[in-house]
Symmetry: C2
Subunit: 220 residues, 2 copies
DNA sequence: CAAATAATGTACTAACTGGTCCGTCCACGT
DNA sequence: ACGTGGACGGACCAGTTAGTACATTATTTG
């Protein structure tokens, strides 16, 4: 619109402060929001740049391409949840208690990180081709599975879990419900005229999935 | 289908045959595929037109805009599943049997219609703003809920279902697992190194969700 | 059949968008 | 203090894409 304002040495001494790490973090944060909101193809590099304190030039400087940035966003998101997962310590409560806490942890985490859910959904639209490209993500070991395996073993040994089930499959049962509540919030809410964001409904669902999983495990 | 008189005579005498319904259907079918594959913003109107036997001009003639076409695709997809849902007749088997069949129906339908699943996922990325715009979809009554309500009532009366649960919530429990298996097939498969498309795993999951739901209902 | 209307094809455009060019500025090691 | 490499800004470009103007042919109706 107006002529570029020259910020020379005198006058408005807009001295630049270099902050590579900060710049990267800034871009990544804004990009996460943009990709989660609009998807990979819907996201606009210019829009990201605008909401950053730096410019589009720097996005390409640090991340190479739109897709490179997208992958970086995914890596960050997956890294975050895996870090928390690895920290789960459920060894000192009863198997039943442990499962219930795991369910509630999953429920709460996914509830609290809708952007992560959205990114995963988006990545599935793309047949997971970008996380498959990411060495980092492919090599993230998934601690939940070990956690679940441990709980199941204890439960079976104690005789309270009578159902034979693979840890991965149980994780899917738990995860699917928690994930769906967030990922399909809008269509489900619209069609069934529900407010999936309401706290009391959230509480009800939280209890429900816990009950369902525990009963599945303890049942004949 | 192609028994129509050959009109593609060489030379310029290629007389045109009008077929409004066919044209619309053709566009809709191709568009469904394109939108389900690439999402709303990722889909290309030109790409749709190319794979149609007609031209881009007709897309705008019949559907007005890219978004108009997208909405038409959604309406078709939702219409299809509701039609089948309305046809569920589960009144003449035991409540437990009925629930199990309902679960299996949901499982099989979602398994067989990945494009529908993808469209729903995509629509959620857009906060369901397009199905909210669609009078048609908003007014589709959801027969499953009534079906479930009926089964639950019978089950409670017969004393086999001891769990108090809203039909909508139970539908969510069932649907989430079936949906997730398809919607998150690629990320889940990549991360946990599973082939969610394998028939034996599908069978296992089919049984599993059935067991889980039934046990949830019959449990204390 | 003639007029009116619906359906279709072609060529085009205006705006957008990912990506880059070129030059400037900052910071640190010596 | 100074030179070098990394950090940075803004204008710019070339390809893409949704949407349209205009012309033409098919079909229906009076």
């Amino acid at each position: 619109m107006s002529m570029a304002e020259q910020d020379g040495r005198s006058g408005k001494a807009a001295s630049r402060r270099n902050d590579p790490e900060g710049t990267k973090r800034d871009i990544l944060a804004v990009a996460t929001e943009e990709f989660a909101t609009h998807g990979l193809s819907g996201a606009r590099v210019d829009a990201i740049a605008e909401r950053t304190r730096t410019t589009k030039r720097m996005i390409y400087y640090y991340f190479g391409s739109k897709e490179g940035l997208y992958i970086a966003v995914l890596e960050k998101a997956y890294g975050d949840i895996r870090a928390v997962e690895a920290d789960l310590r459920l060894g000192d409560v009863s198997p039943e208690q442990a499962i219930r806490r795991l369910v509630e942890f999953t429920f709460d985490y996914e509830e609290a990180h809708p952007n992560f859910i959205r990114l995963v959904s988006i990545e599935n639209i793309h047949h997971a081709e970008y996380i498959r490209q990411s060495e980092t993500i492919r090599n993230l070991n998934v601690a939940v599975i070990d956690t679940i395996a441990g709980i199941l073993r204890r439960g079976r040994e104690a005789g309270v879990f009578r159902t034979e089930v693979e840890p991965v499959d149980l994780h899917m049962l738990i995860s699917s419900f928690c994930f769906f509540r967030v990922s399909n919030r809008h269509t489900f809410g619209t069609i069934f005229r529900q407010d999936l964001g309401a706290p009391d409904l959230r509480e009800k669902h939280r209890r429900m999935i816990g009950d369902a999983v525990v009963r599945y495990l303890t049942g004949d």
